[in-house]
Every structure is written in structure tokens, then in C-alpha cells.
Symmetry: C2
Subunit: 319 residues, 2 copies
């Protein structure tokens, strides 16, 4: 094991807070964890690869660490679950600066601390090219209560949390001017997205949502996943979609960023039209953007015109 | 998502067998799994990187798929646990042949089937360089019964399953003659190692082992992990170490391969000297190789001479 890896593991082992749920963390063949009685386990895993999901000249190490973990926490949020622990597999090219590793750990552990989860294990290796991180998040939800993608029914209304398109619009700005140095804190939806764990939990506890997914690939793609898994269609209104504002002074993003841009990590959910959905949950605005239909197509209504909305999946910046 | 990835996911989704423990597998934000009542969850995660852990000219895709999963299953075995599900994050360079992907899936799914576990999720991405796989295995063990590394006590005897050094000796043969084409089935300990899940389970059920680890990094290193976590030392006898035989005709490996070579995926465990340990468990030979001491050093006895055995951690073939 190269020295940088050993130092990383030692550092992480010192810094991680232990919780009662994690009986054995780093330092054995497996982590040993307690799932709350009456709960099912939730598991999600996400790659974050240098050159595909982040660039060292655009993303600070703190942002990379934060985003790696935010992706997994957002998947737990989309089930209405609670996170318990995370596991990081990290492959570093020879000569990765210690400063980078420290910043990455700081970003990741700060978010872990915010949600009271333990870094309970992982793996390290030498990378043949670029920094590679695979992040697993383990969580739980009461038996049978996790909110699935497959529960949407024709007539349900469609909602999103927060504002959309901010992350993709930030990326487009970087792609246009690859050498620009953005003030990261003015573009939080891209550099420090907040997983909507509280909103997800409340929707599950109050039995409000019939289906849910997080907006990681973009509204058009993620809504198509809901429709596919629920054997349904949807009709959404362009005017209703809440557009993010980014930068300073803040400027509103274009509709296309909100329709097709990924990595906002907001929640997309459906609810019976008979349920009253609050306009805010946990301080996050909730916006109705359309309804589920029975005809297996996704239709976008824009200024009185209807057109079919095709999933234009999130393409990362190297494609 | 590139076509190759989509095809892979579709193929895997068709091929995986579902089990009652996996309520929701591939196709939602998280997998939803049931941990048996009264059990704790076990989680392990392992990277397998092209050029570090395998080479496409040496390892068939079936072998790579098998070995990826065997590593995680072996960690579950080392806790005395039972596996439930696996998750694969796979990053493929553009243009990875469909034949390779099919072979990889075959190798992995055959081993998954053998142990009745479900491929319940994962992630796919385009790799900037080489094939990258991160494999998570989720398992369980009865509450408080997982066998840890930290339970060895001075006076305990030290045992290993199977024969050691076969995997490393195979690798040395390939490194000496990089273009040689080995008959993979004559070198199973390297190309198709068998995780010792049954042995681990029986040791746990019969309450035989005080500590356990799997031999992934090599005896000298893995024994040092047991000693570190147990705040103890050890004394082992070179003559007692069961040496593997590889190839056809089979030839015995050198002591060094058995002492320091990794990736045998046998089990190393300790047991009270008062416990009777069978000479075979589940058809696998069990060999006593030494005893735990109180002085925090590892001593190798060889032909009447005692020398300190330093951990010479498993170095992969690119280092």
C-alpha cells in the first residue's frame, strides 16, 4: 500500500465519528452495522471519475469530496430513507498531492458529519489514470415504506423540490470558458449540492408521495424513469418549471438546462391530486409542474403548444 | 449513457435471479434489502482495476468477473457471515468489446449463482483509462457473532484453510514470461479462487474461532493485521505452512509465495488451544501453523532458527 493511501486511511480513521449503528467500522474484513428494527436496508453506489464527473482545474478537492457523497445521500433521500454509513473506494494516481487528499476528505467528512453518518470502510488503490472514487451509502427505511419509482398513477400530480438547471448551467459556463475561475460558493447547486434528505423523509412519513426519484440525470430523463417503472406517461408545463439562478449577480438559467441538465439533486415526486402538498417542506420550495397520464408519452406544454419531450440523458462533459 | 452500458444493464437485469431478501434490485434509486431478523449487516467493498489487479492479456473476462466478486465474498467469509447481495460499479473505456463484457458478466454471475446472491445494483460509467470495477458485497451475521480480527489471545493456536502461495506463484510465472498462455483451469487459486464461505460459517456457528481474516494481502501482512487489532504477537513454523501446488504437472510453490503472496482467499483464524479443530471443514484442509504470543512481534521458526517476520504487503504487478 503506497504511503499516501496509508496516511489517508489513518487520517480518516481518526476523523470519523462513530455512531451506535456502526459496531465495527474501518479496520476489519467487513463493516458491521445495525439496521433499525423493523427497517429494510437501502444501498446505493455511485462512481465519480476524474475527467468524467469532475475536473481538478474546475472543482476544488472539497467540492469533489462533497459531491461524491451528495450523490449517494440524494439516492437515499429519493427513497424517503435515512442514511447510516458510507464507504469510499478511492484510487489515486501516484503523486496525488497530500493537499488534494486532505481537501477531498474535508469536503466529504463535513457532509457526512452534517447528516450524522459514519465513514465505515472502503478500499484504496493506485490508479492507472486519474482519481477514481466509488461511493456507497447504506441507509434504511421502515419495512415496505421506501418510496419507489414505480408508484405513479394516472391523475397524480408531479412536483419538484427547489430550482432546476443550476448545476448544468454552471457546467456550460465552465465549458465555454474552461480557464475561468468561478467563485464556488456562488454556484452551490453545482459545487456543493444539498441532498434533500429531510424533504424525502417527511414525504415518506406523511405518506404524501406515490413515487419519487432524485434529479441526477435531468428532468426529462428522470421523469422517463418514473414513467417507465410506473407504466405511465406525463404532461408537464414549461412555464411551471422553477428555474435556478446562478452566479453573482444571479442570472436565471435557460429552460433547456432545467429540462435536460443533470446533477441538481432535487427530488421529483408524484402525489395523488387529492393530497394537499405544502408549498414548502423543510424550507425548500415545492412546485407542481404537471401530471401523470395513461398514455406512456411525456408531453411538454409550452406557450399553448404541446410537443413530445424525449429523454436527453445527462451527458458528462467529456462526451 | 453509452450503448454498451445500456446493453450491459439490460442483460444483467434479465440474468439476475431474484431472492426474497432483495425486495427491490436494479431499477430504483437504491436497492431495498431485508436483513434477517436478529442479524447485523456486513458490508465490504473492493476495487479491481485493469493494470493493477488484472490484465486483459493474462486474465480471461470470466476470470476477472469471478475474481472481482470472490474478493468481496471472501471478506464476508472472514466474518463468518452469509452473503445476501452484490453491487457492481463498472467503468468501461469506449470500445470495450461486447465479448469481453459478456464474459465478465458470465464469470461474475456464475459465482453469484453458486452462493445464491443477487446482483442488486451498481453504477456504470465511461472510463478514462482501463476497465475499473468496484464490487460491494452485503451480507449478515447474527447480532454480536461476526468473527473479528481483534479477538486473538496469547496462547491461541493459528490455523489456515487450504494451501497457500498458489495465486502469487502463478502471477510470478506470468511476470517472468508475460506472453505465456496458461491453461487457466490448471491455476484455479489465481484465476478462479473459491471464497471459503462454508468454512467461515461453520467456524462461527460452532463458536470455534477467536479471530479471523482472509488471506488477500499475504500471510505475513494479514497475520500482522490480526496481531495489530488484537494487540498481540505470533510465532509460526515455516515447516507447517501448507504450500500450494500449481500447473500441470503440479509443482509446489516456494515458501516465500506462501508467506508473502496475496490473493489466495484462504482463511487465517485463531482458536483457543483447548478447542478441538477438525483437520477438514467442508472438505477443505485446516492446518495449524503456529500460536499467538503476548509480545507484539511475529516470529518465523524455520529449521530451528527464529527470525522476525515483517509484513511484506502484497504488491500488485505494476509496482
Amino acid at each position: 500500500m503506497p504511503l499516501a493511501e496509508k496516511a489517508l486511511i489513518a487520517r480518516i480513521r481518526r476523523q470519523v465519528s462513530r455512531s451506535a449503528a456502526v459496531r465495527i467500522g474501518i479496520g476489519d474484513d467487513c463493516a458491521v452495522l445495525r439496521i433499525p428494527v423493523g427497517h429494510e436496508a437501502l444501498v446505493t453506489t455511485d462512481f465519480s471519475l476524474e475527467g468524467i464527473h469532475f475536473r481538478r482545474d474546475w472543482h476544488s478537492p472539497e467540492s469533489v469530496g462533497h459531491r461524491c457523497l451528495a450523490r449517494g445521500l440524494s439516492d437515499i433521500a429519493a427513497m424517503g430513507g435515512q442514511p447510516i454509513a458510507t464507504f469510499i473506494s478511492l484510487a489515486l494516481p501516484r503523486g496525488t498531492p497530500q493537499r488534494w487528499i486532505d481537501g477531498f476528505s474535508r469536503g466529504l467528512l463535513a457532509l457526512a458529519k452534517k447528516w450524522s453518518i459514519t465513514l465505515a470502510g472502503g478500499d484504496t488503490a493506485e490508479s492507472p489514470a486519474g482519481i477514481l472514487a466509488d461511493v456507497v451509502v447504506l441507509g434504511s427505511a421502515p419495512k415496505g415504506k421506501a418510496i419507489l419509482r414505480s408508484g405513479a398513477r394516472p391523475g397524480d400530480f408531479i412536483y419538484v423540490t427547489g430550482k432546476l438547471g443550476g448545476s448544468a448551467a454552471t457546467l456550460h459556463r465552465l465549458m465555454k470558458n474552461p480557464r475561468s475561475k468561478l467563485a464556488l460558493r456562488d454556484f452551490p447547486s453545482h459545487f456543493f449540492p444539498e441532498p434533500r434528505l429531510e424533504v424525502g423523509r417527511i414525504l415518506r412519513e406523511k405518506n404524501l408521495a406515490t413515487s419519487m426519484i432524485d434529479l441526477s440525470d435531468g428532468l426529462s430523463t428522470d421523469l422517463s424513469h418514473i414513467c417507465d417503472e410506473s407504466s405511465a406517461g406525463a404532461e408537464i408545463s414549461a412555464e411551471a418549471i422553477p428555474l435556478a439562478a446562478i452566479g453573482r449577480p444571479a442570472t436565471k438559467v435557460k429552460l433547456d438546462s432545467a429540462l435536460h441538465g443533470g446533477e441538481d439533486y432535487e427530488l421529483l415526486f408524484t402525489a395523488s391530486h387529492r393530497k394537499k402538498i405544502p408549498s414548502q417542506i423543510d424550507g425548500i420550495p415545492i412546485t407542481r409542474i404537471g401530471r401523470i397520464t395513461g398514455n406512456k408519452k411525456i408531453v411538454l406544454l409550452n406557450k399553448g403548444r404541446a410537443s413530445e419531450l424525449k429523454p436527453r440523458g445527462w451527458e458528462h462533459f467529456t462526451r
